[in-house]
Assembly symmetry: C2
Homo-oligomer: 247 residues x 2
């Protein structure tokens, strides 16, 4: 019951409770002790109990209702923390030498399809980049990226032969929102040739759209050969670190 790992009292109360919930000892719907009962049990003040319970309510593990009490929440949380890869870091983390190659770079007005991908209304100057990431010399991912030069004019002067656009953007442009779309696709022949795979082989496609406030910063499509790549998300419900890993 008393967990010696957690030094402070409110953390110990919190982990005692979440442990009982997650072990199934307290099933969904079960009423957990009132604050004053926990005060008595742990011999502490109500603020301390409240500090233990409030984050459990915020994370959705319990539901609190005035007068009624606190209850283990019914619908089990069903979301997962997915670690989205920064490709150079990802490849080197696997212990493979990382290679990067800028294949094309153009500044131009966004085409119709690109306007849609960037979600813009009117034509705008974009920087269009296509890069190939390699692991141990083999193609690892094809990156097709549009950068909105109206929002990030500095990008026009960066030497993307040397630095990958994802890394540069991540460290130079703050963002407030991102949307990821993960899908499977049969890619066009040109793409399959670049990736060195068969024409009909399935690929994992990760698209990311990034905003800063209302400005669209960038849209990127990463195409991974399906055979060689998985995304792995591990959910350990405690709001601790997220130990995501990849094959």
């Amino acid at each position: 019951m008393t967990d010696l790992k957690d030094a402070t009292l409110h953390k110990r109360i919190r982990s005692d409770i979440s442990e009982r919930i997650l072990s199934g000892a307290w099933p969904p719907g079960h009423r957990i002790p009132y604050e004053h009962e926990l005060m008595a049990e742990y011999g502490c003040s109500r603020m301390t109990v409240n500090k233990a319970l409030a984050p459990l309510a915020e994370s959705g593990l319990i539901i609190r209702r005035r007068k009624a009490g606190s209850f283990v929440s019914r619908p089990r949380i069903h979301s997962v923390v997915l670690d989205i890869p920064d490709i150079p870091a990802e490849v080197t983390a696997r212990g493979e030498p990382y290679g990067y190659e800028l294949q094309s770079r153009k500044v131009r007005l966004a085409g119709r399809r690109e306007i849609e991908e960037l979600g813009l209304d009117l034509p705008v100057e974009v920087l269009a980049l296509r890069c190939l990431h390699r692991a141990s010399g083999r193609p690892f991912a094809l990156e097709e990226r549009l950068i909105n030069l109206a929002a990030v004019p500095e990008a026009a002067d960066v030497d993307f032969m040397r630095v990958a656009p994802g890394s540069w953007l991540l460290s130079h442009v703050p963002w407030t929102e991102a949307e990821h779309r993960i899908s499977a696709a049969n890619v066009p022949r040109a793409t399959s040739i670049l990736l060195g795979i068969e024409a009909q082989a399935a690929c994992l496609v990760l698209e990311r759209q990034t905003w800063r406030g209302d400005d669209r910063i960038t849209h990127v499509r990463l195409t991974f050969p399906g055979e060689a790549y998985d995304l792995v998300a591990r959910f350990a419900p405690q709001p601790a670190a997220n130990p995501a890993a990849r094959r």
Copy 2:
């Protein structure tokens, strides 16, 4: 600066600060005001300021050091909350009629490959299920599931003709950990026939392994026709609700 949406003071302080960080006004490394400065600015007690800042530190957006102060943390968080679908809910949420069909059900000793998928050491009795989920009559997902009967003996008596195994497990068996693997694959011919797609069409494959403590509960592989299905994760860094959606 002052956000009228957030009724309570500590939430307003919290969102004011995270807003300035996420907009880039306070870049990584920037020292945010001391607690006593925020007390003066908002005219409140230190406990209230602390209640605003503590979750920001816990979520990793800021780093707090005694004597030195609190700072915007350097490495930008790069993970994403992905909403993993409960298929019946998912289909009906799209406004399509949901159909479910149990295709096969067997209790048997786990085969070699299945032992590996369940991560077991020795042979064990499993319940093997194959179900097809339909949306508007069309195949939506193929579910291939193994349930470890040593861990969940009750599953042997459930009528999985009527209730989908995912829904039953979710509401009857608590779990403590889950690992998800997302990949793209060209599926075997038998699967493509079941899903009513071309033999070489790419599919999105979602595998989930669930634990309760050290016991493996279930392993499931969901295969979605790639053309018809995306996973979408929207990252809005506020630790509020996760507004995930799907195409």
